[in-house]
């Protein structure tokens, strides 16, 4: 009950903020229309954003910043990797689908891990097996096929940070 109310309040202020950013008009009628629409949104779809209870730590903010910096760096590296493969006349690729084991359990953490893997060099998440905690990853330049080495090489880049942030 309490988390549901908190989730509704967060959704209300988030949608009001997005309304103000999109319209960029600070007149009274526009603001009233925005409040009404944000109320409708939070009544009908408010309880889906925050599902579980967790405490606020200052450490988590620090880990989030570290994650964002690391993610940006990996994104830039990934794009230069793609550019190298595409320009090369002989297309040096060695594709395959490998398995990666993960320790994360929450849905939000798994989604963020899959998104991070998709935007980092040479990898693309194909499917998630939630019960066995296995990710199937398409790798454009396969170096190992063993599950432990792939876990260390692909998942290990983000898993520790995401564990600190989400769990």
């Amino acid at each position: 009950m309490k988390t549901e109310r908190k989730s509704r309040i967060v959704v209300f202020f988030l949608s009001l903020l997005i309304w103000i950013l999109i319209t960029m008009v600070c007149s009274i009628p526009s603001l009233i229309a925005g409040i009404i629409i944000a109320l409708i949104t939070s009544i009908f779809a408010g309880e889906m954003l925050i599902i579980t209870e967790r405490k606020f730590h200052l450490k988590r903010v620090w880990y989030t910043i570290e994650y964002l910096v690391k993610f940006t760096w990996e994104l830039i590296k990934a794009n230069f990797h793609v550019a190298y493969i595409v320009i090369h006349p002989l297309l040096p690729i060695k594709p395959g689908i490998v398995k990666v084991k993960t320790k994360l359990k929450r849905d939000s953490a798994l989604t963020m891990l899959a998104n991070s893997i998709t935007l980092t060099p040479g990898t693309l998440t194909v499917d998630i097996d939630v019960d066995n905690q296995i990710l199937y990853v398409h790798w454009i330049d396969v170096k190992f096929t063993d599950i432990e080495q792939t876990t260390k090489d692909i998942g290990g880049r983000f898993e520790k940070l995401l564990e600190e942030i989400f769990e």
């Binding site: 830039i76 297309l91 594709p95 395959g96 689908i97 398995k99 998709t118 693309l124």
Partner: protein, 116 residues
Amino acid sequence: MHDLALNQIIGYIIICGGIIFDFFGVLGLVRLPDVYNRLQAATKSVTFGSVGILLGVFIYSGFTATGFKAILCAIFILLTSPVSAHAIAKAAHKAGIKLTDETIIDLYQEDKELQK
């Protein structure tokens, strides 16, 4: 072109970088051999390129309506484009579209056959 402020010049440089990466991604879409490889190159490079263009527009126009909308749009693209990539990859594999002949390993197919 001669009376631009400094932030406008930096914005144009970032926009040009984004357009170059867009171009590489589209080139990968044409050149690479099968759906999964095309999806990799295209999703990564075109997402990064479009986010770069939007960041350049934000730096060009400063803290105005255009700038804030550009930031909102960039966050939206970064969150949604990997999700649609997963959806297409999973659907293509379940629909039985073959990987290219250069593929060396496919553990997903082996696990699916084991479960049957």
